[in-house]
């Protein structure tokens, strides 16, 4: 849907100032440093991305899911719902909203085979659930166990019903604002425009720039940028970075744009900072990510409650006394945090 960004809920309700974010995260910042908080979100952005790749979900859907994830935790403390449950829920809701709803049976069984659960998969397919959510769940179980086993000391604990229930909270907390605008489309448009102003002899050059910028846009999903700046600016900043990296000089073209260049440079700074600090692209996990920290978040916050939830056959809302957060901060401090 084309839609008008300027009239959209994205523009009117979901672009914040840094101060807004700071204030909204007070509860978490009371116990985590901003850096630690970001690392946790980066970690889960990585998990969502990994699942997306495994199920061959369109990048658009993955991006929407990641933005949902951030939006939820903008309004809520990390302790309100286990991120490990919110992540598949975001993906599921995004797949429905972006009309990715139909996953074919053959694709589904490929997924099951890939993750070595063919039998289990066909059993589950026969039950009454949507194949999309079933495969999502299987992929999470698999990934959590194999790829992120270091971070979770137990198997993926949630069931489809938990996802369905969590979906309600997600929808509500996002105020039912479902349409997310991404930098991808403006990026392609800008590239076309830029290409038109270029020498026609070098189409390959333009492709390289687009690819580079596209990857950079993917990286921005690990930052707060989608909550702070409109997508067209993010697209331009990524384009700028791509041009700098590939050492193309398009100063003239950028200068002619009628935009707030200062703001764009702010975005560029954030992205460069992200790359310097954390990213090794192949690993999806920030290199200096403190595993202990994450472990504590997960073990201390969620597991005890989970146990009781599963025991009652009931569900998810893991509400934690804030004292646990305080406890966490002391423990992680004493553990030295890598």
């Amino acid at each position: 849907m084309a839609g008008n960004f300027w009239l959209s809920s994205h523009c009117q309700q979901w672009l914040f100032d840094r101060q807004d974010l700071q204030r909204d995260r007070q509860i978490d910042y009371a116990v985590l440093t901003e850096d630690e908080y970001q690392k946790i979100l980066i970690f889960y952005a990585g998990v969502i991305q990994a699942i997306g790749e495994q199920l061959k979900i369109k990048q658009q859907v993955v991006a929407t899911a990641t933005v949902y994830f951030r939006r939820f935790y903008t309004r809520n403390s990390l302790k309100s719902i286990d991120p490990l449950l919110l992540a598949p829920t975001c993906l599921y809701l995004a797949s429905k909203v972006e009309e990715f709803g139909v996953i074919s049976n053959s694709r589904f069984s490929t997924v099951c085979q890939n993750i070595g659960k063919a039998n289990q998969g066909s059993n589950r397919l026969n039950n009454q659930f949507d194949p999309v959510v079933t495969s999502l769940l299987l992929a999470f179980e698999f990934t959590v166990k194999n790829k992120y086993g270091f971070a979770f000391q137990q198997e993926f604990p949630y069931k489809i019903n938990n996802i369905f229930e969590c979906e309600f909270y997600l929808l509500e907390m996002m105020d039912c604002c479902l349409i997310v605008f991404h930098p991808y489309r403006p990026l392609v448009q800008y590239c076309q425009d830029l290409g038109a102003s270029l020498d026609k002899k070098e189409p390959a050059q333009m492709d390289a720039i687009l690819q580079m910028a596209w990857k950079t846009v993917n990286d921005t999903l690990r930052t707060d940028l989608s909550l702070l700046y409109p997508p067209y600016l993010i697209a331009l900043a990524c384009l700028q970075i791509a041009c700098l990296t590939l050492q193309k000089d398009f100063k003239q073209w950028f200068a002619e744009l009628n935009i707030d260049l200062e703001k764009m440079m702010e975005i560029v700074k954030v992205i460069l900072n992200l790359e310097n600090r954390t990213l090794s692209r192949d690993q999806l996990i920030p290199t200096d990510f403190s595993l202990e920290l994450h472990l504590f978040v997960h073990r201390v916050f969620y597991n005890p409650v989970l146990k009781s939830f599963t025991a009652c056959g009931s569900t998810l809302l893991s509400i934690f006394p804030s004292r646990w957060i305080r406890l966490l901060s002391t423990v992680s401090a004493s553990a030295g945090c890598c």
Binding site: M1, A2, G3, N4, W6, L7, S9, C11, Q12, Q13, L15, R23, D24, I27, R75, Y92, L93, K96, V97, E99, G101, V102, Q128, F129, D130, V132, V133, F164, E167, F168, Y169, L171, E172, M173, D175, C176, C177, L178, I179, P230, Y232, L233, N258, I259, D260, P304, V305, K307, S308, F309, C312, S314, T315, L317, I319, P321, S322, R323, R326, L327
Partner: protein, 478 residues
């Protein structure tokens, strides 16, 4: 292009007037957030063990699980780090509030007015503003896919749309989870209220439209479709019961449960692959019946044509019993469907397995002449009922047709609508008729078209698979 500048005053959005709780201003959102977290900090024992009521004191009476509870903080107060801790305490589901969402109790339910694809529709009144609204209850009985995709589509598309001829989604509200609903809250979509739907109006023989009024109806319908299609959305469920008319004579297209957005019109290189199991059978265009998946907004125009005919005939013109029969009816109406009139048919795999009527001459105008005298109306219909979707008129083209620009000019519907004292809905009409016609045969043989005869309301329900009617969902995708 400064987002601050252009987005700034937009922050006071229409939705704010409906639910001040959603206010984005920092102070109030801060306070609502605080109250939210306060409730979270309160600790209840799970409802299954001890169902808490609102009057129940938070936790002092709660039987401690595992028998290890000692520390309980007063509600709303940050508990101090205790020496002895209780893992087993967590909050009751019934205590969850939706701080950003209007509560259902703000509306007063008046009566049921319809049965949509994903739930019942009620007339209701907002207690704060005294505004009459329509509440659409989102049924969660089908637990297969979580929050129903039909509701998601409606939410995402209608929040983005703002046009006089498209029904407005004012708000979304939820009822509190309690032990009456098994601790599951119900969501309601809050729409502006319209007094009538077109199916109800047409079944009421006392309502007669003048030529100018008919034109106005069609003009508004096409105008709404033009807006929808320009916004790159396909409605995919055009039918008279989805066309609402309020007492100011404004027509509104409703029910976007099957609608979907499209990013581009399908081309040969990059065709769309949508599901073709959409649109109620009687309003389904030939390309869908032939299995096309790369369809265009033209599918809605076909439906608009069917609706236009109904303004005269008062009952659906092409009432097929199944897809094959529907194609036959279209064949006798628009002439044989051959590669000459519809070149793309050779690419449609499903079409090869169908036997289509051959050697029938196209006769749209003649078969409608009995009911429609206006030659321009016939000409417009002739251009809408074109089998090849690429040659079918689009909404813009139809709006520019002479029909709307010749005397009698489109005429305001408000006087007529205000003269009606009773609401006309298909749901209420068919309910009363069903009692009247209890003895009538369930599926009377029904030659097409049946002028002025709205008798086969049963038949209507048969063809219009509304939820609840014999569980007939065959035409629906979901």
């Amino acid at each position: 292009m400064d987002p601050q500048a252009s987005g700034g005053d937009g922050k006071s959005r229409k939705r704010k007037s409906v639910s001040p709780a959603r206010n984005e201003s920092s102070s109030s959102s801060q306070s609502s957030r605080n109250s939210f977290f306060k409730t979270h900090d309160r600790e209840y024992v799970n409802s299954r063990d001890a169902p808490p009521g609102p009057s129940r004191p938070p936790q002092n009476n709660a039987p401690p699980q595992n028998g290890s509870s000692a520390n309980s903080a007063a509600p709303g107060q940050r508990p101090n780090p205790p020496s002895n801790t209780n893992f087993e305490k967590y909050k009751s589901l019934s205590d969850i509030t939706y701080p950003f969402m209007t509560d259902f109790s703000e509306y007063e339910r008046c009566g049921k007015i319809g049965q949509g694809t994903f739930g019942e529709v009620f007339k209701a009144k907002c207690k704060k503003t005294n505004r009459t609204v329509a509440l659409k209850k989102i049924l969660m009985e089908n637990e297969k896919e979580g929050f129903p995709i039909t509701a998601l589509r409606e939410i995402k598309i209608l929040y983005a749309f703002d046009n006089e001829n498209v029904v407005k989604l004012l708000d979304i509200c939820s009822s509190k989870a309690s032990n009456f609903n098994r601790y599951k809250s119900t969501f309601y979509l809050v729409f502006e209220f319209c007094e009538h739907d077109l199916a109800g109006l047409l079944s009421n023989k006392a309502v007669k439209f003048k030529e100018g009024e008919t034109k106005k109806l069609m003009q508004q319908l096409l105008n709404g479709l033009f807006y929808i299609h320009t916004g790159k959305v396909l409605h995919r469920d055009m039918k008279t019961s989805n066309i609402l008319i309020n007492r100011d004579g404004i027509l509104k297209i409703a029910d976007f449960g099957l609608a979907r957005a499209f990013s581009h019109l399908g081309t040969k290189e990059k065709p769309n692959r949508f599901t073709n199991r959409v649109v109620t059978l009687w309003y389904r265009p030939p390309e869908l019946l032939l299995g096309e998946r790369n369809y265009t907004p033209a599918i809605d125009i076909w439906g608009a044509g069917c609706i236009m005919c109904e303004l005269w005939t008062r009952s659906p013109i092409l009432q097929g019993q199944n897809e094959q029969h529907q194609l036959q009816l279209i064949g006798t109406f628009c002439g044989s469907i051959t590669p000459e009139v519809y070149p793309d048919i050779v690419n449609l795999e499903p079409a090869k397995h169908l036997s289509l009527p051959q050697n029938i001459k196209r006769d749209v105008k003649k078969s409608l002449e009995k009911h429609i005298k206006d030659p321009l109306a016939l000409d417009l219909l002739d251009k809408i009922f074109v089998v090849d979707p690429s040659k079918r008129l689009d909404a813009d083209g139809a709006l520019n047709h002479d029909y709307f620009w010749e005397d009698p000019m489109p005429q305001d519907l408000a006087p007529k609508m205000r003269s009606l004292t009773q609401s006309n809905f298909e749901f209420t009409a068919s309910a009363s008729r069903q009692t009247q016609q209890a003895n009538a045969p369930a599926h009377p043989p029904h030659p097409h078209p049946a002028p002025g005869n709205r008798a086969p309301v049963h038949n209507l329900n048969h063809g219009r698979p509304d939820a609840g009617v014999k569980g007939f969902f065959a035409d629906r995708v979901f």
